[in-house]
Amino acid sequence: MLSRVANSIYWLGRYLERAENYARFIDVNFNLMLDLPPGLKAQWEPLVLATGDHAHYVKSHKDFDKRSVIFFMTLDRSNPNSILSAITYARENGRIVREHLSKETWEKINGLYHMLNNTSERKIWGKKDPRSFFEDIKYQIQLLYGLADTTVARTEGWYFRTLGMYLERADKTSRILDVKYHMLLPSPQEVGSPLDFLHWNALLKSVSAFNTYRRLYGTIESSGLLEFLVFNRRFPRSIYFCIKEAEDCLHMISDSQNYDFKNSAEKEIGALRSKLAFSDIADIIKDGLHESIDEIQQKINVISSEIELSFFQIKQPSFTQNQSQS
């Protein structure tokens, strides 16, 4: 597969997943705010903090009011991570590799783009409750995953898109956990209070994990929840699961054995996977939640740049070597 094409497919995977996760963030925060006890100020700033766009946001905004935050994260073209931007990039990447996509896939991405692009702001923001809009985005992206699942051959392109999707998802799950860190309770005594409980509930729902968690763990408490979202071997949005799947994709692409590596991307991801595999909740508590999450995010960034170097960039020196050997 052409490097340029692989690059586009990988980013197509990342941007779609990013858009979906943003839709989840906003949707859930909105829900959460509806449940807040009277008198408590709605918190939208944590969302901006968790996405890593805080610095960008404060350049043009004073307040973290609902309307501004939702607009910033959804339709603001000046925010490169807004849903509209992510879908625009996803589509652009789709356009670049269109000959590698099925007709349905392309037309769904294109349709989603046109939907976002043509919906006038007023139409959405005029409504008091934009939740159906976010649900729509979520479902359209899920539909794309479903289409891909049943129609796309498991060749290199598949693994690059899936790789992008899982890396992005691992990153976003970590950021969802970070929302809780930033979501300040009025006082330390509130830990374990109904409000605290509400927060954790919202968090679980944002990753569609409430029912699963209840069945597996029962009580809603921070340690169980952290274990579930960071280390669970079977839940498809836990960080470990995503990293393991991403690692498998890399192995398929490089044709290397499990627990082995042929390039620096595989090496880095293998290291993160085993660190996660041999850690538990006690380690997180020891190192601090925010610090642990921060470290995971940084490692994902390193993996991402190693993928770039291993597969997408011109490798003229190695070309010459191959030539002289033959």
Binding site: H114, F312, N322
Partner: protein, 474 residues
């Protein structure tokens, strides 16, 4: 739909005779059209537009900051060509392409036609499309112009005339193919009843033709695109998809030891045949325009060494110059010793003193064109221009006569077109596509371009034209 008010007096209409009687080959469609309620027709038009947008059949896209994308308006009423007429066209096109191919081969090798004084030497050697590096070159199987999209029009009498040969990178074939799919959905039963020849195997024929250029059993074939900002990008990716070929950009390719390689995630892979959609002079900064970032350094050397086949061959543009066009009837006679089946539009070459004087005297009746411009730019339509514009062009011609030709304004034929709630006549041209592989092959269909503005003769998509599905009958 009530057609009683349809007016096409004084013009050749594709569907109706002067006396208002529908031409025989349109009968089944006429019946359907009369039965269809205007509202229904509007609905069909609406969904045709929608499917084009959904498919991303858009052009000239990203220059606009809003990301606004335009579709090439597809009018739902087809243009129909009867078989006998088509056979004539087909024979004429084959003859023309055959002669032009001989011409290009000769120009870059023996130059007999120049030595014999049939075509002026300076006209060729001063042309910016004459590529000196191609001298002495014979491309694989002696074929230069693999893909041609000839523009034709009909005048008042209904006779066809060739307007342009388009041997460089003719576009629009994807619209021909996808428009058919859309129209099939709009009028599901009528195609069968009318007996319309299919066009859908064009990509297969194109791929066969391209593979034919390599000696390898399973050559790696690619489509070379300038990238997503090019207005014809939809077509490039569409054709790559339909052929199962790689869509490549200049940056994906690298030349080593006179061989061309693609940069893949697993290393470098050789590529054997390229359908290039980049203009000649942008192909290779080492051989041609050194400023081009689109092309591949060294690809021309690889081409000369026979390690890569390029379609169309670099250098074909020389036969596509509007001044050379005037000589095509002579070219046909010279190489084939045949009378041209398809006529040229009478053309005045401003480089010839007599012609130039005639043009200067009659500019208000003529269409003046730059010899190297395309897309409806750099032209003057005499009858529709002001005296100031006439004067401006007179001066341009006097300063640089070689750069201009002129032709009489022809009344292009018209065809019924949906305009709001009614059907009105609009001017139309015809662009069939010709492939030159094992033999010369004319696809039984075309892109018909329609001037959407009432009375307008300009059909280019870049100038607000639309298109029509074109039915060639069995």
């Amino acid at each position: 739909m009530d057609l009683s008010n349809y007016q096409c007096k004084g013009l050749y209409d594709e569907m109706f005779q002067e006396d208002g009687i529908c031409r025989a080959h349109y009968h089944p469609f006429e019946k359907l059209l009369r039965k269809t309620h205007p509202k229904k027709l509007k609905q069909l038009q609406f969904s045709a537009n929608k499917s084009q947008l959904a498919m991303g059949m858009t052009f000239n896209v990203y220059h606009n900051e809003e990301g606004l994308e335009k579709i090439l308006h597809l009018d739902v009423i087809p243009r129909i060509i009867p078989n006998a007429e088509w056979l004539q066209l087909e024979a004429g096109l084959k003859q023309r392409i055959n002669a032009l191919n001989h011409f290009i081969q000769d120009i870059y090798n023996d130059q007999n036609i120049l030595n014999d004084g049939i075509v002026p030497r300076d006209l060729i050697e001063n042309s910016k499309d004459f590529l000196k590096p191609c001298m002495g070159l014979t491309p694989p199987k002696g074929i230069w112009c693999h893909i041609t999209g000839t523009d034709l029009i009909r005048d008042k009498s209904g006779e066809y005339f060739v307007l342009e040969d388009n041997l460089r990178c003719p576009s629009g074939v994807s619209y021909m193919l996808e428009s058919r799919e859309i129209i099939k959905r709009a009028f599901p039963n009528i195609l069968n009843k009318t007996g319309v020849m299919p066009v859908s195997n064009y990509p297969t024929r194109l791929l066969e033709m391209l593979k034919n250029l390599s000696v390898k059993d399973k050559p790696v074939v690619g489509v070379l695109t300038p990238g997503i900002y090019n207005s014809a990008y939809f077509e490039h990716s569409y054709l790559a998809l339909q052929m199962g070929a790689e869509l490549v950009t200049g940056e994906d390719l690298i030349v080593r030891d006179k061989k061309v390689y693609m940069q893949t995630t697993q290393g470098f892979e050789q590529i054997d045949v390229i359908y290039r959609r980049i203009d000649d002079t942008f192909l290779d900064p080492e051989a041609f325009n050194p400023d081009s970032l689109l092309g591949v350094p060294g690809i021309f050397e690889a081409y000369r060494a026979g390690n890569i086949a390029l379609a169309n061959a670099p250098g074909t543009g020389v036969a596509d110059d509007k001044a050379v066009y005037a000589y095509v009837p002579d070219i046909i006679k010279y190489y084939l010793n045949e009378t041209p089946i398809l006529n040229n539009v009478p053309t005045y070459l401003c480089r010839k003193p007599d012609d130039r004087q005639y043009v200067l005297d009659h500019i208000e009746d003529l269409v003046v064109k730059e010899t190297n411009a395309a897309g409806g730019y750099g032209m003057l339509i005499g009858p529709k221009s002001t005296p100031e514009e006439h004067e401006k062009f007179r001066n341009l011609i006097k300063t640089n006569p070689d750069n201009y030709i002129a032709q009489p304004t022809l009344n292009l034929s018209t065809v019924p077109t949906l305009v709001d709630d009614s059907v009105e006549c609009r001017h139309v041209d015809l662009r069939p596509y010709v492939l030159y592989g094992e033999e010369i092959d004319v696809v039984p269909g075309a892109l018909s371009r329609v001037a959407l503005k009432k009375g307008s003769l300009v059909v280019n998509s870049s100038q607000g034209g639309g298109s029509k599905d074109t039915w060639v009958l069995y």
